[in-house]
Subunit: 400 residues, 2 copies
């Protein structure tokens, strides 16, 4: 059996922790498993590198950012390989390029295009523990390319898919919770969650895993274990709906603070204008999250969307471009909001649940700016100051 392990930044933050992981991997290997390990950069390494770049300029070149950010993982793979070899295990480190991870897309947010797993399989056959740098691959120009947020999870799940392996994600939380325990202390850990629910939770900013990694798991049927301790298996298993024993109405609630709202007002609300906004946003590589259009009956209406706070510089560019195209519009960026989201298979065509949600808002006098619903989730933009309170009230209402 091939097992792909993934260790995040806090799990490899010190050489002591790296040695502990090496010991555990040696144990797993000695139980007749073929072991592939994906690691992130140590602790706050990536954040510190990003900080250096922003000391220089507010708008660093993205190809160079990929180069810069990809160094942290190269350090961890080398150190973990050194640790394993010092314990007497045969190990080899591979960069994304060496592991055959080809990417496409834009620098700092590339997608995995393909993985040639043959090289890794060859090393596994030689009895080696194979250590792969997470978060990175190589693009068609031969440049290192990073996979954006949660990229190491994506690397691990993609490798597990290609190698037909199990995937175990080790992180600094001991599993997936229905709601952040810091927001709601009575939060419960979930033992099994479906890919779809997890994707919604991840997309909504629950933080433990990025949705794209889960999506990949769903696509290729890779069962993903998420947990903390080395050895004890008391984390959360992300799997297909069919394999789950029972379902709750609401599985999880998240509060995402990395969000801002953009209102574009006094714009002729024709489809072609909405398209023009989107076209420019795509050119600038802006990740748009929730979209709503108001006052569609008047000739000049307003159009709103939400996007991550980190897009602020690109948004300002967008604003300039749009103001040139549409003379009369005003673009208002409101960063003082958060997004409260509820996820659960129980939301599928269940208006009763939606009604319960809005009742909580009404009874507690919490106003909201925007609402968006997918098949299994509802997201609501509220003022920053009300975010946690709203989440607590909802958690209590749905007993999660």
């Amino acid at each position: 059996m091939i097992i792909v392990h993934k260790y995040g930044g806090s799990s490899v933050a010190t050489t002591e922790k790296i040695l502990d992981i090496a010991k555990y991997l040696g144990k797993v290997k000695s139980e007749n498993n073929d072991v592939v390990v994906v690691v992130s950069a140590m602790g706050k390494t990536t954040d510190n590198l990003i900080k250096l770049a922003y000391e220089i300029t507010e708008d660093p070149d993205k190809r160079e950012m990929d180069r810069l950010m990809s160094t942290g993982e190269q350090q961890t793979i080398a150190l973990l390989s050194i640790a394993l070899q010092s314990l007497g295990y045969d190990a080899i480190s591979l960069t994304g390029r060496q592991a055959g991870i080809m990417t496409e897309g834009h620098h700092t947010k590339n997608r995995i295009k393909s993985i040639d797993g043959e090289k890794i399989k060859g090393y596994l056959k030689e009895g080696k523990i194979v250590i792969v740098a997470g978060f990175q691959g190589v693009d068609k120009l031969g440049d290192v390319a990073t996979l954006g947020r949660g990229g190491s999870d994506t690397s691990a799940v993609a490798l597990a898919a290609v190698l037909n392996a199990k995937c175990e994600i080790y992180t600094d939380v001991d599993g997936i919770y229905s709601i952040d325990p810091r927001v709601y202390p009575d939060a419960k850990k979930i033992s099994h969650i479906s890919y779809d629910e997890m994707m919604e939770l991840a997309f909504l900013g629950a933080g433990v895993m990025e949705s794209r990694a889960v999506e990949l798991g769903k696509k290729y049927g890779v069962e993903i274990y998420v947990g903390k301790s080395l050895g004890e298996k008391n984390g959360t298993i992300i799997t297909s709906k069919e394999k789950m024993m029972e379902e709750k109405v609401i599985t999880g609630i998240s509060v995402n603070e990395n969000i801002l709202m953009v209102n574009i007002e006094n714009i002729p609300t024709y489809a072609k204008n909405v398209y023009a906004i989107f076209e420019q946003a795509v050119n600038l590589g802006i990740n748009i999250d929730m979209i709503s259009q108001n006052d569609v009956l008047s000739e000049h209406g307003s159009f709103a969307f939400a996007c991550p706070k980190t897009e602020k510089t690109s948004l300002e560019k967008l604003s300039e471009i749009l103001k040139e195209e549409f003379k009369d519009i005003s673009v208002i960026i409101n960063p003082y909001v958060v997004k409260v989201s509820l996820v659960g298979i129980g939301l599928i065509s269940n208006t009763v649940v939606a009604a319960r949600i809005f009742k909580v808002f009404a009874e507690n006098n919490i106003s909201f700016h925007q609402v968006a619903a997918s098949e299994i989730s509802i997201a609501i933009i509220v003022d920053e100051v009300m975010g946690k309170e709203a989440a607590r009230l909802l958690a209590k209402e749905f007993n999660i």
Copy 2:
């Protein structure tokens, strides 16, 4: 004209310094030059990475050490490229592999086998400032390979050779001094020095540049400028003897404290015994520096050599081995010595100069333990306490 600049670790230690360099490079570029820049890792980055590896084990795998140590330069090239682009200059960063630097040899001390300069020339033609990671290349397995001590200087000189370019090394000292100003405050900066003299000085521990980079410069006729300030050209030019306008008798004096003397006494001084000593020293990987044999006329004489203090552990092993082979010998290790060296083309077959040197020792009652002379240098082992005084007196005598 193509100019290769090289900036060492202390020159790129902060983002502020990187921005200053970017500004200067932009100026050089705007004066109609094609600019290639080689950079080291920021400040103490490499040292800190090495420390992490040694926290794990005393004997880290060398392939993985190369991977680990090579990340620092990748960070600097990305940051410098970001800085140049933020100032409006077109720039691109290249790893050693991307710059076409092929290596051979052993991990952590590779040599440059060849450089394919076409890729760099292509980018220069597009008007780009090309930034290359120093200290690294790629071996035939496709693994990153580092060049050992002074590796970034070697990268810069080798690139200048391939590109038929000038080479300018910027460091934290403002040029090559005839003698360490901390030893002799009146020390003068050398405006021109020959490759051979510089190699001797480097070998003798003068520190500013490794001898291999200078050797490469000599081999390919690359004129090397070494200096500190950005813009002011008041450093030192390392060039061929033929290009030097005038020669001084003595160009430089160094005091090397990393030295100890080993006396092997009461040993039959036959060639085969001397060979036996050398054979064991080679087996133990001891770097022997100066060698002298005394009392060759008596049957039991003595044999002395000098070597770096860092070889102490290996020397103790050597002592044990020799005592088994030659029962009556005594091995005396004296660490309380320093080596004072004088370098200068004027020393070539010039016994008058040698006489002046020994006159200084005689008149000031400084005794010495060992003397060794090469074509353009004389090295003298004296007691530690007399080292600096001897250097000062010699500097005064030769007015350097």
